[in-house]
Assembly symmetry: C2
Homo-oligomer: 98 residues x 2
């Protein structure tokens, strides 16, 4: 499995709008190989969202970026994104909910 | 929902053993209110595991620490743990696999 942990920083005051775009994008179309993709608010920083992902492989993750639905979500989200930080790749090995 | 992201540092050379204890512990008994609990290796640091959790509430997470099965796992794991870092609480709002 292939995992990503990272924090997405919204433009000031735009976290709710960015969060909704991310959730609507995922509700729209399945992402092959995506086992878990959690969008979470950072309670300590009002413009930050944590994104934690588990994919069956790095190839599935890379492939998702070419999906029409994902590209549409990226296009909608980009103007609201101020930056990313805390990005870490991981190698999930098991647990609950996979 | 209530989330946690954090990194667990094993004693030198003990990551595999610590990983197995964590996975065996979760396989042994259900944790009420636990929606997702992913154990992942840090590919960049040979003694580190990333733990990402989603619970239905902070109360369920706190309650899990009192479960006999979890206390047994903690007792087995503790001698292999060198420390924790990068601990962050989150507020999951949705996504895939929840």
């Amino acid at each position: 499995m292939y995992g990503l942990i990272g924090r997405m920083l919204a433009q000031p005051g735009k976290r709710d709008a960015l969060r909704d775009i991310m959730l609507e994008g995922m509700a729209g179309a399945p992402m092959p190989g995506c086992i878990s993709y959690v969008v979470a608010e950072d309670p300590a920083e009002e413009d930050a969202l944590w994104i934690t992902e588990v994919w069956d492989s790095a190839e599935s993750h890379r492939g998702s970026l070419q999906l029409e639905s994902v590209q549409a979500t990226i296009a909608r989200a980009r103007p609201l994104i101020a930056g990313m930080d805390n990005r870490t790749e991981t190698r999930p090995v098991g647990g609950v909910g996979l």
